[in-house]
Amino acid sequence: MTPRYAPGDAVRVRGKDKYGHVRTPDYIKGKSGTVAALFGEYRNPEELAYGGDGFPKRPLYKVSFSQAELWNDYEGSASDALYIDIYEHWLQDEGEDA
């Protein structure tokens, strides 16, 4: 698959509409982030978990989130970021309807 995103792109984590063997933590669903890096393409863990072969491979990104935006009572620096590895099928364009 040709990667849809590149470093610097604004993305939003898909909402709670996806079921199954989810590898994306609940607390970032629906949150906005920025693509920091593309790691490469890997077999889809959601398929592998049920005995599938995991193909087609899915692009995996490192996505950054603002800690202050994630947590209401965050007391650290406003520039603190959290990086999470997220597969492309868990991301949508920032601004796109969930």
Binding site: K16, Y19, H21, V22, P25, D26, Y27, P45, L48, A49, Y50, G51, G54, L70, W71
Partner: protein, 101 residues
């Protein structure tokens, strides 16, 4: 919908940072689980899914390697390698053996 394991970001209380001494049965549970991967019986992704499918009260009550063995047992049954009856019978046999030592 998030699974029982997906507890990141929720209040969890203090973290126990104490060292955990690994028990013999835990080494064995680790070895058997990894060997089943090497033999192509199961995969890590399937094992994670089986752990995360455990009922909430079990998931929270079991220790790390107890969850591993529960998930390995579930996968072996799912794949038809062993039956629940065979596992239960062997467990009873071993329990009796150890209790008599």
């Amino acid at each position: 919908m998030s699974g029982v394991h997906d507890m990141g970001g929720s209040p969890g209380g203090p973290i126990d940072k104490g060292q955990h001494e690994v028990q013999d049965w835990e080494r064995l549970a680790d070895a058997v689980t990894i060997l089943l991967d090497k033999k192509g019986v199961k995969t890590t992704d399937q094992h994670r899914r089986a752990q995360e499918s455990l009922p909430l009260e079990q998931y929270e009550a079991l220790s790390y390697y107890e969850r591993w063995t529960a998930a390995t047992e579930a996968l072996l049954i799912e794949k038809g390698v062993l039956t629940q009856e065979e596992i239960d019978a062997k467990s009873a046999e071993l329990r009796e053996h150890w209790n008599s030592q």
